[in-house]
C-alpha cells in the first residue's frame, strides 16, 4: 500500500471505531498540509509544523486542564519524530474536523480519552514525518534510507559522521512518499515514553506566564458580569437600568437570554454596579425544588418504574427466592459542583462580521455553536482560541459562559471579558446529578447468587445534546439546531452513541455472579447537570463497592477474599486488588483507633484498587493513608499517572467528606469555599500510588482515581464504627 500525506491523515483520523456520529463530509479537510515556500514551513500532517529554522510546532488537539495532555501527547509525537519533547513548541488547536475526538465525533477533551485515542495516530504522525525526512536525506546522499538513522532532530548518514538537520530537509521531505506501513519504534528503543518525567508546561505555570482564559487581554476591552435568575429557568423581564447606568465606569446594562448584563470599564466597577441591580424575574416554569423533594421524587420513581433493563443474566428473582439471606440497601448521593479554581469566564470580540472567542473550554467546537446561537452568525464565522484551563473536571464541556460572553460582545461590538464570581460559579453551574441506588443481593451457601442494582436519576445527554448535536453538523442551518438536538436524543443508542452517563460502572459489574440485573429508572427533576470528574462511575462506584462490602460482611467473609473469589476471569481486577491489599498491609491490624476499608473499581478502561486507612478525631473523619494500585496499560509519563491518580483520590475525598450542593425552593444554598469546602493540605492523607507495569494499550488516568476512594473510606468507617454509610457526604 502506498501512503501519501493525505491518505495517512484519513487513516489516522478515521481509524476510530463505530462510535462516530458525524457523517463524512466531502471536502471537510480544513487544515492545509504541505510545504509553504514563503514561510519555509512544512506541515507533514495536521499536527506537526517543521521550519527551515528547526522550529518544531505541535498542534495539541486536546485541551490542557491539569490532566497532562500537553506533556503526554507531545511525548508521543516527539518519541517517533526523534526529538526531545522539551524542544517542541505546543500550540492549542483551532476548531477543525481533523481535531475531533474520534470517540465522540466532537472536538472535546473528556472521558479520560486523550492519551488512549492519540496513542496510535500521534506516534504514526511522528514516525511518518521522520520517515519522510530520512527518505529526503537518503536521496541527497544517494544512500539507502534504511541505512540512515535519526538523532534528536537530525538525520545521520550511514557513515555515522555526516548529518543533516531536519530544518535543512523540510522542503525535500515534502516531496517524499512513504511506501508501505510506517514502522513504529519498538518499546526497547523508546527514549521518552515511560521515562519522560518533566512537565512541559511547568515553567509557564510557576512563573505566572501561562495564559488562562481569565488572563486574555485585548485592546479597549470592557468587562461584563451577568446576573442570572436565582432559580434556574427564571427570565429577566425588567430591571432598574436608569439606576445602574449612571454608576462609575458603567458603559451599558441590558437583558440577555441568560440574565442581565452589566458592562463597565473595569471588572470591579461592573461588580459594584451589579449590587445596585434590581431585576424583575418571570419565574413561571423556574426550578422550585429542594434536594429533599428531588430524592423523594427518585424514591417514588423507583417504586413506580423498575426501569430499563441495562444488563440481565439469569434470574435475580429466582436467586432471591432460593436465598438463605437477602440483603437490601438504598444509597443516596447529592448534587455536586466542580469548583474549578479558575471561575467560568470567556472573552469575545465581534468585529468585521466575525466573532472571536478566547475561552478555557473543554469543547471548542461546542463553544462555536454556543457563540453562534447568541448572534446572527453561523459557526463558520466564529473562531475559538483555546487557552490553558484552570481546572475542567467536566464543567467546561458545557458552554454557557461562552454563550454569555458572545451575547454581550455581539451587542457591544468591542472586546468583552465576562467573569463569574465564585458565588456565581457555585450557584449557577451545571452539576453532577443527585442519584439514588436500590440494591438487592442474594446469598446462599456462602455464595453471592444474585445482584440487583436499580439506578435512579437523570442522564446527561438530555442536557448536553443541545449544543453537541449541532457541533457535529456545523454546516446545518441554525433553525435546525433544536431539531438536531431532538433527533440526537431520539436516535440515542442507534445513530448516536448510547448515553451511558447514568449506568457506567454499574453495567460493567465485574464479579462472577450467576444472576444479575442492572436497571435504570430515568427521572429528571429539571436541575441542570453535566459531566463531573468520573461521571456515572462517581456514583455507581459508591453504590457497587459499598454494597459489595455489605454483602461480604453479611456473609461473614473478609472483603478482599469475598471479591477475589468472584474474579477468576478478571485477572487485571484481581492483580490490582491483591497488590493494593498487600501494600496496605491488609489483614494486619490497623493502628489503634483506625480501620481499613477497600474498594476495587474499573473506569475508563483503567483498573484501580484502593485501601483507605481512616479514623475519627474530635468528631471529624480523619483519613490517614490511601494505598492505590492502578493498571492503566502502557505508561507514557509515570509522574503524571501518579499525579492524576493521587489528585483523583483527593478529589474523591473532597466529595466524600464535604461535597453537597443543596437546593431550597429552587435556589442553591452553597456559595463559596467556606460552605462548599475543598480538602486542604493539612487534611490530605499520605497517598501511595503503585503502577502495574504493563504493555497493554494505554488507558485514561484523569478520572479513575476518583470513584473507589469514596466507598473505600465509607467501608473503613464501617469497619471502625459498625455504622454503615449509605448517604454522601459521609458522617463521622
Amino acid at each position: 500500500m502506498t501512503m501519501n500525506r493525505r491518505d495517512f491523515l484519513k487513516v489516522s483520523t478515521g481509524a476510530s471505531g463505530s462510535l462516530i456520529l458525524a457523517v463524512s463530509i466531502p471536502g471537510c479537510a480544513s487544515i492545509q498540509t504541505g510545504f509553504e515556500p514563503e514561510s519555509g514551513e512544512w506541515k507533514p500532517d495536521v499536527w506537526l509544523e517543521l521550519s527551515r529554522d528547526d522550529d518544531i510546532v505541535f498542534t495539541l488537539a486536546r485541551v490542557e486542564m491539569g490532566q497532562g495532555a500537553y506533556t503526554g501527547l507531545t511525548t508521543l509525537i516527539a518519541e517517533e519524530l526523534d526529538v526531545d519533547p522539551a524542544r517542541i513548541i505546543v500550540k492549542f488547536a483551532p476548531v477543525a474536523p481533523e481535531y475531533r475526538n474520534p470517540l465522540f465525533g466532537l472536538q472535546l477533551t473528556g472521558a479520560s480519552t486523550s492519551l488512549a485515542t492519540s496513542w496510535k495516530p500521534l506516534r504514526e504522525a511522528g514516525a511518518s514525518a521522520r520517515q519522510m525526512l530520512v527518505l529526503a536525506a537518503a536521496r541527497v546522499w544517494e544512500v539507502n534510507a534504511s541505512d540512515c538513522t535519526t538523532q534528536d532532530g537530525r538525520v545521520v548518514h550511514p557513515n555515522g559522521i555526516d548529518s543533516l538537520r531536519y530544518g535543512q530537509l523540510v522542503e525535500l521531505a515534502d516531496k517524499e512518499v512513504i511506501r508501505g506501513d510506517v514502522a513504529l519504534k519498538p518499546k526497547s528503543e523508546w527514549k521518552y515514553i515511560g521515562r519522560q518525567a518533566g512537565k512541559l508546561d511547568a515553567h509557564a505555570k510557576v512563573t505566572g506566564k501561562a495564559v488562562y482564559g481569565i488572563d486574555v487581554e485585548l485592546p479597549d476591552m470592557v468587562y461584563a458580569v451577568m446576573t442570572r435568575s436565582p432559580r434556574h429557568g427564571g427570565v429577566a423581564k425588567d430591571f432598574n437600568r436608569r439606576d445602574v447606568i449612571g454608576l462609575p465606569g458603567v458603559q451599558d446594562a441590558f437583558i440577555t437570554e441568560r440574565g442581565v448584563a452589566v458592562v463597565a470599564n473595569s471588572y470591579w466597577q461592573a461588580r459594584k454596579a451589579q449590587q445596585a441591580l434590581q431585576v424583575d424575574w418571570d419565574m413561571t416554569g423556574a426550578l422550585d425544588t429542594s434536594t429533599e423533594q428531588v430524592l423523594e421524587g427518585y424514591r417514588r420513581a423507583a417504586s413506580d418504574d423498575p426501569g430499563v433493563k441495562e444488563r440481565t443474566e439469569g434470574s435475580v428473582n429466582k436467586a432471591a427466592e432460593q436465598a438463605e439471606k437477602v440483603v437490601e440497601a438504598e444509597y443516596e448521593q447529592p448534587y455536586l459542583a466542580h469548583a474549578t479554581m479558575e471561575p467560568m469566564n470567556a472573552t469575545a470580540w465581534y468585529h468585521d462580521g466575525q466573532m472571536e472567542v478566547w475561552a478555557p473550554t473543554q469543547a471548542p467546537d461546542l463553544g462555536r455553536i454556543a457563540a453562534a446561537r447568541h448572534s446572527d452568525l453561523s459557526p463558520g464565522d466564529v473562531t475559538i482560541h483555546t487557552t490553558f484551563l484552570g481546572g475542567g473536571f467536566g464543567r467546561r464541556l458545557t458552554q454557557d459562559y461562552i454563550e454569555e460572553a458572545a451575547a454581550v460582545a455581539y451587542q457591544l461590538k468591542v472586546p468583552v471579558k465576562l467573569i463569574w464570581s465564585r458565588e456565581e460559579d457555585t450557584r449557577h453551574g451545571f452539576l453532577r446529578p443527585a442519584m439514588l441506588h436500590r440494591m438487592k443481593g442474594s446469598l446462599a451457601e456462602g455464595q453471592l447468587t444474585g445482584w440487583q442494582h436499580q439506578i435512579v436519576g437523570p442522564q446527561i445527554l438530555d442536557w448536553y445534546v443541545r449544543n453537541a448535536a449541532p457541533a457535529q453538523y456545523p454546516w446545518a442551518p441554525k433553525f435546525l439546531y433544536d431539531t438536531l438536538g431532538k433527533v440526537g436524543l431520539m436516535a440515542e443508542g442507534i445513530a448516536t452513541p448510547k448515553d451511558i452517563s447514568a449506568i457506567e460502572g454499574a453495567v460493567g459489574y465485574p464479579y462472577q455472579v450467576p444472576n444479575i440485573s442492572v436497571r435504570h429508572t430515568h427521572t429528571d427533576p429539571g436541575v441542570p447537570i453535566t459531566w463531573w470528574r468520573s461521571v456515572g462511575y462517581s456514583h455507581n462506584g459508591f453504590a457497587v463497592e459499598t454494597f459489595m462490602d455489605e454483602l461480604a460482611h453479611e456473609s461473614g467473609e473478609d472483603p478482599v477474599q469475598f471479591r477475589q473469589r468472584m474474579l477468576d476471569s478478571e485477572p487485571r481486577h484481581r492483580e490490582v486488588l491483591e497488590r493494593a491489599a498487600r501494600l496496605a498491609g491488609w489483614g494486619e491490624s490497623a493502628p489503634e483507633g483506625r480501620a481499613r476499608g477497600m474498594a476495587l473499581f474499573k473506569s475508563f478502561g483503567t483498573y484501580v484498587a484502593q485501601v483507605v486507612e481512616a479514623g475519627v478525631e474530635n468528631g471529624e473523619i480523619k483519613v490517614y493513608k490511601v494505598t492505590c494500585s492502578v493498571d492503566c496499560g502502557q505508561v507514557v509519563n509515570p509522574r503524571i499517572v501518579e499525579d492524576q491518580i493521587a489528585g483523583g483520590i483527593l478529589f474523591g475525598l473532597t466529595a466524600a467528606l464535604y461535597g453537597e450542593i443543596n437546593f431550597d425552593q429552587g435556589e442553591i444554598r452553597q456559595s463559596n469555599f467556606h460552605d462548599y469546602r475543598l480538602l486542604q493540605l493539612h487534611q490530605a492523607p499520605k497517598v501511595v500510588v503503585d503502577i502495574v507495569d504493563s504493555n497493554a494499550e494505554p488507558t485514561g488516568v484523569g478520572e479513575p482515581g476518583v470513584p473507589p476512594v469514596i466507598p473505600a473510606l465509607g467501608n473503613a468507617l464501617f469497619a471502625l464504627t459498625g455504622k454503615r454509610q449509605r448517604r454522601l457526604p459521609l458522617t463521622a
Binding site: G647, F651, H682
Partner: protein, 162 residues
C-alpha cells in the same frame, strides 16, 4: 482616585476607585496576570502577593489600604532572569497540574522561607494549608518546599504511629 504602588521594584500610579481590590489593580491596571482570582473572599489563596514583605490576599485588600506599599507578585520572584529556587523546585518536582493556584502557593512558600530558612514539616503544613488546590498537588508542594529548605523531599503528612 490616584494611588501609587511599587510593584516588583517598579513604581506605578493608578487611578481607580478606592475600594478596588489590589488583585484587579495588579492584573488589569498594571497588567501582571500571574496573580489569580479564585474566590474574591480570601478563602483560597490563589491571589496571594507580598505587601511590604507580608503575604496578603489581594482579592480582599482594597487599594486604599496599601497606597505607597511595596508589592511583590509571582512575576517579581525571578532575579536577573533567574528563577527563584522555589520556582525551580516546583519544576523539578513537577508540582503544577492545572497550575491556576500555583502562583499563590509559591508566594506563600516564598514568604515562609524568607522568614524561616529551615521550616519543619509541621511549619510547612501550617503555612501552606490556607492555599487551596483543586487538582490535589499538596504532596508535591510540600516536597518542593522541603527540597529548597534542605529537607528530604518526600512528603508523608501523618506519621504512621501518630
Amino acid at each position: 482616585m490616584a494611588f501609587s504602588l511599587t510593584v516588583n521594584g517598579h513604581r506605578h500610579t493608578v487611578d481607580v476607585d478606592p475600594d478596588t481590590p489590589l488583585l484587579w489593580v495588579v492584573r488589569d491596571e498594571i497588567g501582571l496576570k500571574g496573580t489569580k482570582f479564585g474566590c474574591g473572599a480570601g478563602l483560597c489563596g490563589a491571589c496571594t502577593v507580598h505587601v511590604n514583605g507580608q503575604p496578603a490576599r489581594s482579592c480582599s485588600t482594597p487599594i486604599e489600604l496599601v497606597d505607597g506599599a511595596d508589592i511583590t507578585t509571582i512575576e517579581g520572584l525571578e532575579t536577573e532572569g533567574r528563577l527563584h529556587p522555589l520556582q525551580q523546585a516546583w519544576i523539578d518536582e513537577g508540582v503544577p497540574q492545572c497550575g491556576y493556584c500555583q502562583s499563590g502557593q509559591i508566594m506563600t512558600a516564598a514568604h515562609l522561607l524568607a522568614n524561616n530558612a529551615s521550616p519543619s514539616r509541621d511549619e510547612i503544613v501550617t503555612a501552606m494549608t490556607g492555599n487551596l488546590c483543586r487538582c490535589g498537588t499538596y504532596a508535591r508542594i510540600v516536597a518542593a518546599v522541603e527540597a529548597v529548605a534542605g529537607g528530604v523531599g518526600q512528603y508523608e503528612p501523618a506519621p504512621e504511629d501518630a
